[in-house]
Amino acid sequence: MEELATIIATASPLVYAVVGETITEKAGVINLSLDGSIMLSAMAAFATSFITGSVWLGFLAAILVSAGIAALIAFSSIKLHLNQIAVGFVLTLLAADLASFLGDPYVGERAAHVEPWAIPGLSKIPVIGDVLFDHNLSVYGSYLVVIAAYWFIFRTKRGLELQGVGERPEAAFARGIPVNRLRYIYTIIGGGLVGMAGAAFSLDVKLGWRDGLTQNFGWIALAIVIFGGWHPIRGAIGCYLFGALQTLALKLQPVWPDLSQILPILPFALMIFTLLLVYLDWFRRLGDRHPGWRRLLASDPPSGIGRIFKRE
C-alpha cells in the first residue's frame, strides 16, 4: 500500500501539468514550452520559498512565471500570428537555460516546503486512507484540480464554450463567443497550473533546487495529454500509470538484473508506445465495435488545435 501512496504523491506534479495543458489545448492552443516552464517555475518557487520562508508565495511565484510564459505564447499566436509550436519550443529552451542561470545560488539550499498533513478522519479509512489521504495539500490539490477541470469542461456552460473555441472557433465566434479572449484566458490558466507542477516538484516531490531537476517531465506531460485523449481524468490516470511504470522498473531490477541499465528508460518508452497504440486503426475500430468503450478509448484532438483564429 505504501508503494501506491508513493505513486499517487510523486505523480501529483505531473497531474497539475497534464490538467493545465489539457485546458490549454482544449481551447485550441498548444503550449509546447512545458518542459522549460516547469523547470523555471520550479526554480522560482524554490527561490521564493527560500527568500521569504513561505511555501504559498513559492507556489504563487511559480504560477505567475508559468502563466507569464503561457501568456507570451497566446500573444504571439493570437496577436502576432506566429507558429505556436515554434514559439513554444524556443520558450522551453529559453526557460530551461534561464532556470539554470538564475537558480545557481539556490542549489543545495534548504527552504520551507509543503508540510505533511493527513486529512483527519479520511486518513483513517482502511487502505484508501493511507493511499489517498495521508499526504499534503499539494497532493490533495492535484485531486481537486482533476475533479474541478472535469466538472468545468464537461458539466458547465463555460466548459462547453471552451470546447467550442477549441473545436470550431469560427462557429463559436458566430455564436457570439469571444474566441481569442477565451484562448488568452484558458492558456494563462493552463500555464498557471503548469507552474503549480513546477512548485509541486521543488517544494514537495523533489524538494530542493538543482539544475535539470524536472528535465523531460514537460515532454512526458505533453505525451500524457494525448494519451489521456484531452480528458482530465484519463490524463490523471496516465500520470499514475507513468508513476506505476517507474515503480515497476525499479521493482523489476532484482528480477532481471541483466536489464538493470535498460529498465529505467522503459516507462518513457512504454508511454510513447502506448501513445502509438491508441492511434492505431485497429485500436480505433475496437472503440467503434464497442460504443461503450468509445468514450474510454477516444483520443481525438480538438479540431481547432494549433490553428490561429482570425476574425474575418
Binding site: E2, G208, N216, P254, D258, L263
Partner: protein, 403 residues
C-alpha cells in the same frame, strides 16, 4: 695548515649550498603563476557532490599555486550531446591548458583519444586505470595520461558502520549509480561496514540484516534515462528500510529521508561525495564520505610545473591522523548530527580499528553473490582484487551485473 682550513671552509660552504639548493626545490616554492589547467566535469560544478568536489580541488590549486583554471561542467551525453570529451580537450589545449583533468570514469574513451591527440600535454583521468601497469585497461602508449583515485572504500565502510549502528529495522538500502567495478566495490564496502557494526559491535544476528542495492543507471538523475532516485529512495523506505545510503552524486536520499522524518518516521540517510552534503538535512544525516581531490591534484600540478610529470596510477588514501584535513587527507568522513552519542563513540572506535589495521574487512572468507569465492579464508584483498570487483557480495540483495 691554512690549506686545510680552506678545505674545511669550502666543504661547509658546499654542504650549505647543497642544502640551500635542496631547499630551493621545496614544494612550497613552486609557483603556478601563468600556469593554466583544464577541469572537465561530468555534472554541474555546484552539484554538492562529485563534480563540485573536483571544482573545489581546482579552486584549491588556484589558491595554492596561483594557477588559472579553465572549467567546463555537465560534460555528459544527456546534458551536452553535441560535444565529446576529446573535443573539450582540443578546445582547452587551444585555450592554453598545460594540464587537463578529466574527472569521470565515463570519460575513458574521450580522454584517451584526447591524450593521444595531444601527447605533449599532461592529462589526468580520475578514477581510471590507464596508467596502471597491472591494470586491465593499461595503455602503455599514453605516457602523458595519469590516473588519480581515492581509496573511498575506507570511508564507505565507515558509512556502512554508521548505518549498521543506527538502523532499528535492520533494513538498509543502498542507492547505487550505474554498475561497474568501482560501484560494486563501494557497495560491497558499505555492506561490510554495516554488517561488521551490526553483528560485531551491536551483537545482532548477521542474518537479520537486510541490505538491498538498487541502481538508478547513472551518477545522477537524468529523467528518461535513469531511474528517479527520489522514487528509489521512497521505495526503500516503503519497503521497510530506515537508513538509505547514497552512492550517487546528488542528495535525493537525504532529501527524501528528511521529508519522511518531518512526517514522523524514524529514518536516516548517508549522502556521498561532498563534504558539506549533510547541510541539507543535518539532523537525520549520519555522516558523509567524501573525496578531497586537492592534495593529489596539487602534487600532480607541481610535477607538471617542475617538468617532472610521469603518467602514474595513484590510488591515494585517507590521512588517518587527521581524516578531515583538507591539506593531507584525500578521503574523508564527516560525522552527521543524526548519529547518537553512543553510535558516534562506537564509530570512532571503528575508525581507529581501520586506521590501526586491526579491522580489515576485505579479508576472506568472502564469496561473491553467486557463491563463487572472492577471497579465501584469511586472504586479504589485493589492490587488483579490490579495484576489479566483479560482483556484489553474498548476502546482498540487488543486481551485480548489467548489459
Amino acid at each position: 695548515m691554512k690549506g686545510k682550513y680552506w678545505a674545511k671552509f669550502l666543504a661547509i660552504i658546499t654542504v650549505l649550498a647543497m642544502l640551500a639548493g635542496a631547499c630551493g626545490d621545496d614544494d612550497d616554492e613552486v609557483s603556478g603563476e601563468g600556469f593554466t589547467f583544464g577541469m572537465i566535469l561530468v555534472g554541474p560544478q555546484n552539484d554538492r557532490g562529485w563534480s563540485q568536489a573536483h571544482y573545489e580541488a581546482g579552486e584549491y590549486l588556484q589558491e595554492q599555486l596561483g594557477a588559472t583554471m579553465i572549467v567546463l561542467d555537465k560534460v555528459n551525453g544527456a546534458d551536452r550531446p553535441e560535444i565529446t570529451v576529446d573535443q573539450v580537450v582540443d578546445d582547452m589545449v587551444a585555450q592554453g591548458a598545460q594540464l587537463i583533468f578529466a574527472t569521470s570514469d565515463d570519460m575513458k574513451d574521450g580522454i584517451e583519444l584526447g591524450a593521444a591527440n595531444h601527447p605533449d600535454v599532461p592529462m589526468v583521468w580520475s578514477s581510471g586505470d590507464s596508467a596502471w601497469a597491472d591494470g586491465e585497461g593499461y595503455r602503455a602508449d599514453l605516457d602523458n595520461l595519469g590516473n588519480e583515485m581515492g581509496r573511498m572504500y575506507y570511508a564507505k565502510q565507515i558509512a556502512g558502520c554508521a548505518a549498521g549502528l543506527t538502523t532499528e529495522t535492520g533494513n538498509i538500502g543502498y542507492l547505487g549509480p550505474l554498475i561497474n567495478d568501482e560501484t560494486r566495490r563501494l557497495a560491497n564496502s558499505v555492506y561490510l561496514g554495516a554488517q561488521y557494526c551490526w553483528s560485531e559491535v551491536r551483537g545482532e544476528d548477521p542474518a537479520a540484516l537486510t541490505f538491498s542495492v538498487n541502481w538508478i543507471g547513472f551518477w545522477f538523475n537524468i529523467p528518461g534515462v535513469t531511474l528517479d532516485p527520489t522514487q528509489v529512495a521512497n521505495d526503500f523506505f516503503d519497503g521497510g528500510a530506515d537508513v538509505v545510503i547514497s552512492g550517487i552524486d546528488t542528495t535525493e536520499a537525504l532529501v527524501v529521508a528528511g521529508q519522511r522524518s518531518d512526517g514522523g518516521d524514524a529514518v536516516w540517510a548517508v549522502p556521498y561525495d561532498y563534504e558539506g552534503a549533510c547541510e541539507e538535512k543535518p539532523e537525520i544525516c549520519l555522516g558523509v564520505p567524501y573525496f578531497n581531490w586537492g592534495p593529489a591534484y596539487l602534487e600532480v600540478t607541481k610535477s607538471v610545473i617542475k617538468g617532472e610529470f610521469a603518467a602514474e596510477w595513484n590510488w591515494f588514501g585517507p590521512d588517518w591522523d587527521d581524516l578531515n584535513s583538507l591539506n593531507t587527507s584525500g578521503v574523508g568522513f564527516v560525522e552527521g548530527d543524526g548519529l547518537s552519542d553512543d553510535s558516534a563513540t562506537a564509530l570512532e572506535e571503528f575508525i581507529d580499528g581501520l586506521a590501526g589495521g586491526d579491522i580489515v574487512l576485505f579479508t576472506g572468507p568472502l564469496n561473491y553473490q553467486d557463491g563463487t569465492p572472492y577471497l579465501t579464508d584469511g586472504e586479504v584483498a589485493s589492490d587488483h582484487q579490490l579495484w576489479y570487483t566483479k560482483q556484489l557480495l553474498e548476502g546482498m540483495i540487488g543486481a551485480s551485473a548489467s548489459n
